[in-house]
Subunit: 633 residues, 2 copies
Amino acid sequence: MKFLPDNVTVSVPAGTDLLQAAALAGLEIKSGCGGEGVCGRCLVRIREGRARVGEGNMAPKYRRLGYVLACRTRVEQDLVVEIPPEARMETTQQVLVDEPSRLLQEKETDALVRYGLQPLCRKFSVALSAPTLVENAPDLARLVAKLGPASGYSEVTTNLSVLRELPEVLRRDDFRVTCTLADLGDGRAEIVHLEPGEAVHPAYGLAVDIGTTTVAAHLVDLASGETLERVGTYNHQIRYGDDVITRIIHSVREERGLEELQQAAVGTINELIDRLLARQNLWPSDIQAVVVAGNTTMTHLFLGVSPKYLRLEPYIPAAARFPSVKAGELGLKVHPEAPVRCMPAVASYLGGDIVSGLLVSGMHQLPGIGLYIDIGTNGEMVLGGRDFLVGCACSAGPAFEGSGITCGMRATAGAIDGVDIDPETLEARVHTVGGEKPLGICGSGLVDLLARMWRAGIIDRAGNFQRVSSPRVRWGDEGPEYVLAWRRESGSGRDVVITEADVKNLLRSKGAVYAGIRSLLRSVDMEQDAVEKVWIAGGFGNYLNIRAAIRIGLLPDLPPEKFVFLGNASVKGARLALLSGRAWQEAEKVAQGITYLELSVGNTFMDEFVSALFLPHTDLRLFPSLEREEVEW
Amino acid sequence: MKFLPDNVTVSVPAGTDLLQAAALAGLEIKSGCGGEGVCGRCLVRIREGRARVGEGNMAPKYRRLGYVLACRTRVEQDLVVEIPPEARMETTQQVLVDEPSRLLQEKETDALVRYGLQPLCRKFSVALSAPTLVENAPDLARLVAKLGPASGYSEVTTNLSVLRELPEVLRRDDFRVTCTLADLGDGRAEIVHLEPGEAVHPAYGLAVDIGTTTVAAHLVDLASGETLERVGTYNHQIRYGDDVITRIIHSVREERGLEELQQAAVGTINELIDRLLARQNLWPSDIQAVVVAGNTTMTHLFLGVSPKYLRLEPYIPAAARFPSVKAGELGLKVHPEAPVRCMPAVASYLGGDIVSGLLVSGMHQLPGIGLYIDIGTNGEMVLGGRDFLVGCACSAGPAFEGSGITCGMRATAGAIDGVDIDPETLEARVHTVGGEKPLGICGSGLVDLLARMWRAGIIDRAGNFQRVSSPRVRWGDEGPEYVLAWRRESGSGRDVVITEADVKNLLRSKGAVYAGIRSLLRSVDMEQDAVEKVWIAGGFGNYLNIRAAIRIGLLPDLPPEKFVFLGNASVKGARLALLSGRAWQEAEKVAQGITYLELSVGNTFMDEFVSALFLPHTDLRLFPSLEREEVEW
């Protein structure tokens, strides 16, 4: 069978569904529910041939246009299938790679200065004297005797593969050799790599952020601390579901589910490694250390550890501190003996990505009170400073990631990321990523849109559509909706709309995040004014209009100068842990030092959540600045 | 093609030599030179079909009888090949298993008492409280928090496979679990195995001696220290050569040589494991720790580390302290995460087997001066005690192992292990292993024979045959020879003889051992009377007549009560290291504490060797007891 517009042909057994077939062809189709026929996003059109089409949830308008759900449609004979732009995973745009501005780059360096350069792997060159009948100590003993003093480690061990190479490598350049030592802590190190003579390269390290949606990797020179390349792509696990819950279910329910998800995670990283190696003209074995940050589910899946009990009350992870493993055990395409460390987690829904980001913020070292927020499908937040840290996680839902919203999409080319609505005419002016024709709306666009629609009176504080006189506000397939872009202007040939259901969805998302923040503050009996600094992490944060986010009640009403964007703090923290043993130790300390607030215990969160389902909030006293600005915007 | 008398059929490509073909058929043919056509031992007879027979070294009488060398004969068409008894590896007799007498068994226990029971792996059962929303620490954290105090280890780590099993195992018996902890030293331990609830078995350990010729394994209950089973067999590496040098050459010269030898070593051990498991009705995963003792070459080959430079001056091993590896890395059929430790070596020709044996002797702890001797193809010896240790190795040649001697054989059924010669009639009375018809002569028989032939005047002090009047002394194919057993009495249908060349060969062997001992004494400026105790290790030692060995000048002339037989001390020491962390530490200390005397440096050894090529020695003052006994025997 063939997929259009890529013109990719693939042979599959009859009975294979089109979602799987596309995956086999190396094409990624959006799927929010992991192939359960529920999310209605894996839309494709059959151009030639016949297929068995099953039942599933799909908006009536798509059905009318002849679309079918890829996950519910099985191959019967040779087919030609078209994947429309909306159903495609965008893999060319690398929005979360975190190409940092000059300013952020400097900040990254600052953080390293704070911890000190003491990389996980370092190369040491030594020259041994050639052995004689009298000076006849074994190769390894002579090497270790030299390496100890040269490196400063009190104990230097090795592994089988290094020992197997040692005699020949030593003799290739007259007993001059360069060894990569991996820090094991407590003054101990392991030789993980040998090369004859002087090394051509320094040791390289890989810092990885495994996000539920995207995966980013930085290639780091472990000798200088310099970041040489940044790459990112979508997490290939997406074919098994959009969010962590769907993937946990897949891992538990399917016989090979866990293995598939593990391989998808490793496969995604390997794809990034290939790109990094090609760009820098390096070999896999040149990467000799890896630090991975991810939420607790992603870390479990990456390691091939079942996340089953993360989802079942009382939500217990298999581990929060993970054993150091060898890259070869996981199938990573780097040096097989490279140590792979996963950033320690706090709890099932407060993971190593957050700990990693805290490391970057330095919040845990500051005397005042800070707030660290990462908004994705889950909202994770940590409050505190040097003296205490308390954290929680709330299910924000995937709305801000563009999922579960009629025309939602990720912040890739054609995504509306900024909106202005004329309060008089209710006409919209949109800004898109890459300046392309609008295809849909991404998270930052949705925040903007919500604020603007409320200001223009299109919706009320509860998110209900108002009867206003504009062709843009109309009754659609799913109730009231607002048209942001007409089909003639759009890149998909269809109207780009937001429905009342979408708005309610967004209110729940923003309400959950704000309720989480309030719950943290209440748990330590503080008011939001006590917060001196707010770090916003994650790709969504990077494009967020802070004022708009305050206006809709997503973020607390604090002066703009208190907010700092960290970008992809997860990968940056992984880089710190790669470059500094002290940063790694602090990460372990931070992870253990955070008091985890389980929001499902007690009523605080629920009460706060219900109060936060309004624009901006039931209690307007929490948003004093909004009254002052009323006239300005 | 088919092999007789086993009636085993195997398909091989044309061009395969018969040595390989037999190996493929699972049959072992003697080969001293590793298939080089030199040793003349892989004799077979073609019964049906035609083969391409190449040149090679073979005694004329065998050529006359229609034998061919298996290694020089290549399959051309379907064949029937007979392997005669003399060319067969005996695999039924397990002479070096070291089935100890009651006395030795007690001694073994004694040694353990000296070091204290502190096994490499131990099981601990703990009961965790079930997690709740409030007490929601991760599985691993809760387990480690309990295990630390329960086990006394200050740091408990784990590995990926245990982590992968943890959540399910914990929940299988209501959070009661038994963990096997492997001691990593310095108060650290690793969880290597999990089982739900209380354990059915204790943790079992495997102590292995990888000898060049035979491999012995003991199954040990790590909780009680009890040895449950002892098994042994021939080292399957023998098909690649009899001695370490031939095998080193094979490992270097053949593309897959090292791999073949590694797999042969592991395959031999796995065969023993199968037997142990079957006898005790256990599973592979029940064996959770392994300690291996072997000479330096065997240890290198077992680990798959090239022994190339052991053979080239200045004889440098890759390592003498070997990294701890996981059983799974090597392919051992035990628990894949079981730690595998190799006893530390001293030098290229003073290996972990000797260090292991010293551990059993306790010589390194005694105030007086002791001598430890292991006679095999190489003679290894260590002199000293608490205050110093000095060791060396000399090439004794394989004569005492029955190789390189016309009718030599190992101490298996039918081997002559004791001889008496009537000084008047020169008639021989022989004793054989198992009381079978004589097939050949083994090491202890050869020592006896040499002493008796000298006493009867058949040979002079230099080993030259005398013209005596007896049908048993005759001129054979290879010069003068003495007939121990006539063909009508023998098990092979051929005369069992010893030639003058054999005698010279034996003189070189015994001379090398004695010269080694003398070199050690001279290196510390001592006389043999200073030696208070002599430990004799190895299978050969087990059957040795001490007086006969002194008479031929193999052992120093000391009172019999100073000699102790240790049997297979190598496997016993491996058992100690398995059962006692302190024994392991002492082994490392001993290995590093032995001053290695390289005999090829200086002239001492050569001078001593030349002086020792007589019966018993050039300098009769070194053997005062022989004059006294002249009349008695």
